[in-house]
């Protein structure tokens, strides 16, 4: 009577199965940790906008202050997308007939807003206030990245809760004098080398501490700070 016998090599297979069994959970963990992270899923979102507006030109090359257009940022929680009027402050005169400006002109004529696509979305259950951050020396660049170098704006930071907490736990590296809010290159010591660079960096560090002391910055980590 024949009886099923496992082949001899099945004994050698077992350590392999054990190895796979040990690897799979680690694999899955890492896959979830990296693959499902906002750094993968959220960062780099670069929607096509109705108007090919270039931040690199306006904010970078022209050096226009961010607040020229996003004028509510210091007074309100929301940093406003500018009204068409704001564009037309200049573009009534400058290149008014440019095809790139057609949607702007159309909006200006019929009074219907331009439908910009929102890039930076903080979940609706989190209450983020621009004014609270901006008026305490957190610069635009900290959350939005080098807007002044972006032809088309994309999300450069994960905007995840952990990312918020990193700064709330250690705000100092993201502080700057309020006067340098919109200065994208502040604190970089660009073009400096050696001792001069060290000196500049020491000075930036000093200024960050000063700002922290000036505004008594001790960010809350309570749940209700953001979820209320």
């Amino acid at each position: 009577m024949s009886r099923f016998l496992f082949p001899k090599w099945s004994n050698a297979l077992l350590p392999l199965i054990a190895l796979v069994g040990a690897t799979v959970p680690i694999y899955v963990l890492y896959f979830v940790a990296f693959g499902f992270s906002p750094k993968t899923l959220e960062v780099g979102y670069q929607p096509v906008q109705p108007v090919p507006f270039s931040h690199a030109l306006h904010a970078g090359e022209l050096g226009m202050d961010c607040r020229y257009c996003h004028n509510t940022v210091e007074r309100a929680d929301h940093a406003a997308i500018p009204a068409t009027q704001t564009c037309m402050n200049c573009h009534t005169l400058i290149k008014p007939e440019s095809p790139k400006l057609e949607p702007v002109q159309a909006s200006y004529q019929d009074g219907l807003p331009i439908l910009w696509t929102k890039v930076h979305h903080v979940a609706d259950y989190a209450y983020f206030s621009h004014q609270a951050h901006v008026n305490r020396g957190v610069g635009c660049v900290s959350c939005h990245g080098r807007i002044d170098q972006m032809e088309v704006v994309y999300q450069s930071q994960p905007l995840s809760m952990g990312w918020c907490l990193d700064c709330h736990r250690n705000p100092e590296p993201n502080l700057r004098p309020v006067s340098e809010l919109t200065n994208m290159s502040w604190g970089l010591a660009l073009g400096l080398e050696g001792e001069a660079r060290d000196k500049a960096e020491a000075e930036f560090a000093q200024q960050r501490i000063e700002v922290q002391n000036l505004y008594h910055i001790n960010p809350s980590e309570n749940c209700s700070t953001c979820h209320r």
């Binding site: 496992f6 929301h78 406003a80 009204a83 068409t84 909006s107 995840s160 809760m161 952990g162 990312w163």
Partner: protein, 470 residues
């Protein structure tokens, strides 16, 4: 391995081996004098060509109920936990009741396996395997309820301390999180204990199997067990260790479940006797469930020589003992509620017995304390129909125990405004009232919550940013 001896006699089709002769143990396996007979008897359940018709019938009923459960769960997830009738102040009722009930049922398996093993109660071997299996399924049932109670089942992994983008961690000071660890550990250890016990038996099945599929399956799951005594040596140590580890674990699990309530300040919940009281209750309901399952099983599969009247008699004694313990706890609660001098505590217990849920309380007391007292009589302890009925009653009573503890304690809040201002809002919330009155759980509090102005005010603060569009 003992043949019929002085300790047994045949009575109405049942071999009665419950006769006590001090100094000798009654046989636990009847009508057998060869090792092979035991193997034969045990294996015939799984090897039988024809499954009993009764099995198909019960399975069909079970499957039907399971589908209904599945449907209800989907409905609940889609609709929200409100379908339970949860509302302020009764924020959890059926979910936690069922959770505690099933975790309690789950205690019998490991208790029989572990504690009786440590106490060298050899009669455990007749019932331990299926009691362990029952435990595993009971804990799985229990696991459903916190899972769906969280409302958002898909994020239930948040219960575990995993690194995440929120850089958040579970709150280890919460008893609800202790539950996760306690029930998780309990399920894992029960599974290991059950499987460890199963391995040599699977090897027996493997060596008897006729079909190739069975040979492969039993071969794989028996892990190549060949009965080596060098293996048995470590195996026995490990089994003892697992039993020694499971024993305090069993105690801890239901203690932790009791902490869910007792750590609070709610009168009726905050009682220091809760941990041992819950454990006694869990063993009580668990043994009742084992009796409920053992009786049809021994009939259906012809296991009367293995699960003997003595096993059932012993289980009924455990039910009697734990029923008395539960009764002790009920009375201590009442006594201390009076003794404490705290009016709220007093109210909570008077309300429990005579309030709107008095019927649930008296159902609980009669099923849990009064009915088990019948087991003082040996005629009742050895009567199959009566013990079957009593075991069902105990389970009903224990379900109501949890219901009573949870719902009656919550249903009457203690804020004075709850009484005074209910009527003032009746007109405004007439429709709400009609809707809620049909639901279990007291809803007076909902109706009297003042409208919250603060939200409106804070919304106003955002208005100034509003002129960005032209």
């Amino acid at each position: 391995m003992t043949t019929m001896n002085v300790n047994t006699k045949v009575r109405s089709g049942e071999t009665d081996n419950t006769q006590d002769v001090p100094g000798s143990r009654a046989p636990l396996v009847l009508n057998m004098n060869k090792f092979n007979q035991v193997t034969q008897q045990v294996c015939q359940v799984a090897e039988a060509r024809r499954t009993p018709m009764a099995w198909y019938i019960t399975f069909a009923i079970g499957l039907g109920l399971l589908s209904l459960l599945g449907f209800c769960i989907v409905y609940l997830i889609v609709t929200g936990v409100g379908v339970w009738g949860l509302n302020n102040p009764v924020m959890w009722a059926y979910d936690i009741t069922n959770f505690v009930f099933w975790v309690g049922i789950g205690h019998a398996g490991t208790l029989i396996s572990a504690i009786l093993f440590l106490f060298r109660q050899k009669w455990r071997t007749g019932i331990n395997r299926f009691a362990e299996a029952m435990t595993i399924f009971a804990v799985m049932c229990a696991g459903i309820f916190p899972g769906i109670h969280v409302g958002r089942v898909w994020v239930v992994y948040w219960l575990f301390p995993l690194p995440n983008q929120m850089e958040m961690w579970p709150q280890f000071r919460s008893p609800l999180l202790w539950d996760v660890f306690a029930v998780g550990t309990y399920f894992t250890v029960s599974l290991l204990f059950w499987f460890t016990g199963l391995v040599p038996d699977l090897a027996t099945m493997r060596d008897r199997a006729k079909g190739k599929i069975q040979q492969i399956a039993y071969g794989a799951f028996s892990l190549g067990w060949r009965g080596s005594n060098r293996h048995w040596h470590r195996y026995e140590r490990a089994y003892l260790l697992l039993a020694a580890l499971s024993t305090p674990l069993v105690l801890s699990v239901h203690s932790v479940v009791s902490f869910d309530f007792a750590t609070s300040q709610l009168p009726g919940w905050h009682t220091t006797i809760f941990p041992p009281y819950f454990v006694a209750g869990a063993i009580f309901s668990g043994f009742a469930m084992v009796v409920t399952l053992a009786i049809p099983a021994r009939e259906m599969f012809g296991l009367k020589n293995l699960i003997t009247l003595r096993h059932l008699d012993n289980m009924n004694k455990v039910i009697l003992l734990t029923g008395c313990m539960v009764g002790y706890a009920y009375s201590m609660e009442f006594f201390i509620a009076w003794y404490s001098g705290a009016i709220y505590e007093k109210f909570a217990f008077i309300n429990r017995a005579f309030g709107q849920y008095w019927w649930a309380y008296f159902l609980m007391v009669s099923c849990n304390v009064i009915t088990p007292q019948l087991f003082w009589f040996k005629a009742i302890r050895t009567s199959i129909p009566i013990m079957f009925a009593l075991s069902l009653l105990v389970n009903v009573g224990m379900w109501f125990e949890r219901f009573v503890i949870i719902v009656t304690s919550l249903a009457n809040d203690f804020l004075p405004f709850l009484m005074g201002r209910v009527h003032a809002h009746l007109g405004r919330h007439r429709n709400l009232l009609r809707e809620f009155r049909s639901l279990p759980g007291d809803v007076h509090a909902v109706l009297s919550l003042p409208p919250d102005d603060r939200h409106r005010r804070s919304e106003g603060g955002h208005a100034r940013g509003g002129s960005a569009f032209r």
